[in-house]
């Protein structure tokens, strides 16, 4: 009767993890169920803070509970319970994260795997300085001169306008038209 009352008191007093664990080690199934329930309540916020999805938290929590079950003989009830249980939880969390990230790495495609299926080398271009220069020379004389002055000799639109006796906006318009013609020709 006395042990039943003590048992009831301890099972009700859910904060007393150490006492619950001692009873569990003595084969008390009810105390063990209470202990595991309280432990999962204790660990859920710890895991939720570190994982993004609820289903991940649940999966890991289950793994941790199984680990606690497997390792319960390493707890003697004479030292605080929480550091013991957190050590197991941290260990399983690290394992889980390691497996999760290595899975992601495995699923990630290496560039060399898709290289051959790419249409061509995307970083290389057929357009060279010489080909642009050739196309510039084929432009109407005024547009070609404007581009040469601006891009080869480094004049500003304003300076080109003074040099060619035009106004600045006319120079900009002519340059813009030249760019359009060039783009069309080079894209071909």
């Amino acid at each position: 009767m006395k042990s039943y009352i003590i048992n009831m008191f301890v099972t009700e007093n859910t904060d007393n993890f150490e006492a619950l664990m001692i009873l569990s080690l003595n084969g008390d199934q009810r105390a063990y169920a209470s202990l595991l329930k309280e432990t999962s309540r204790l660990l859920r916020p710890f895991l939720a803070k570190r994982l993004s999805f609820t289903n991940e938290v649940d999966d890991l929590l289950q793994e941790i509970l199984i680990s606690i079950h497997k390792a319960r003989h390493t707890y003697d009830g004479k030292r605080p319970y929480k550091p013991w249980v957190y050590a197991i939880a941290r260990f399983r969390l690290q394992d889980y994260l390691r497996a999760h990230y290595s899975d992601q790495l495995r699923q990630a495609l290496d560039l060399s795997e898709v290289e051959e299926s790419l249409p061509e080398y995307v970083t290389e271009t057929a357009i060279s300085y010489e080909s642009i220069r050739r196309e510039v020379q084929k432009l109407p004389a005024k547009q070609a001169t404007i581009l040469q002055l601006m891009h080869e000799e480094g004049y500003t639109a304003k300076e080109v306008a003074v040099k060619m006796g035009m106004n600045e906006s006319a120079v900009k318009v002519a340059a813009h038209r030249a760019y359009k013609i060039l783009r069309k020709k080079l894209e071909k």
Binding site: Q29, L65, H69, R72
Partner: protein, 211 residues
């Protein structure tokens, strides 16, 4: 949530009386006792070095053996603590081998300085490493086997310390058996390989002590 409740019910139904693991200090004492018996047995089979009594009057030889015994004790204690998930909440004691190794390095440095004129190098070399490894195999396998019964959350360290413990038995055996006073030889072929095996234990621990 429902899954967790089901799991808890299942685990609770499965539970029975569980015998708690022995205290790590007791476990460590057991390991040291068995390892010491094994060392004595090995020495009985191989024989002690004939000049042992003479060497026991040499202060640096005695200090070296004492430092090796310190490593033997510290690694045994640490391995026992590392076998528990929370290091039995004696974290500082688990790092005792670090202190023992610092002491050992200091002793080796002083012994090397005192070795003047240097003792002649023996004709053999890697044979010592092989002998130590062979002697250490059994304690290593046994220690790792016992550790697997617990639940280490520091598998790599536990593996490394377990191997250092086993190799300290081998190193002690060879120092008490081999006629050799060259510090250079001892460092090169006894102790450096021991450190290398300790590093290999990081990998072995991860593989063997996973649970």
């Amino acid at each position: 949530m429902g899954n967790i409740d089901d799991l808890i019910d299942k685990l609770a139904r499965d539970t029975a009386v569980v015998k708690p693991a022995p205290h790590p200090y007791l476990l460590s004492l057991q390991w040291m006792g068995v390892a010491a018996a094994y060392l004595i047995l090995a020495l009985v089979f191989s024989g002690l070095r004939p000049d042992l009594m003479l060497n026991l009057q040499q202060p640096w030889f005695v200090t070296e053996i004492a430092a090796l015994v310190c490593i033997f004790i510290a690694t045994s204690l640490s391995a026992a603590l590392l076998a528990f998930p929370d290091l039995h909440q004696k974290r500082s004691a688990a790092f005792a081998p670090a202190l023992a190794f610092v002491l050992f390095l200091l002793v080796m440095f002083c012994a090397w300085n005192a070795d003047s004129p240097p003792a002649p190098l023996p004709v053999h070399s890697f044979e010592c490493t092989i002998s130590i490894t062979l002697v250490a195999l059994l304690p290593a396998a046994w220690t790792l086997y016992v550790m697997r019964k617990y639940a280490s959350t520091h598998c790599r360290w536990a593996g490394s310390i377990a191997l250092l413990f086993a190799f300290s038995v081998g190193a002690l055996w060879l120092r008490l058996y081999e006629i050799n006073d060259s510090i250079l030889h001892v460092v090169e072929w006894h102790y450096l390989p021991m450190i290398v095996f300790g590093l290999a234990g990081l990998w072995l621990g991860k593989t063997v002590l996973k649970w």
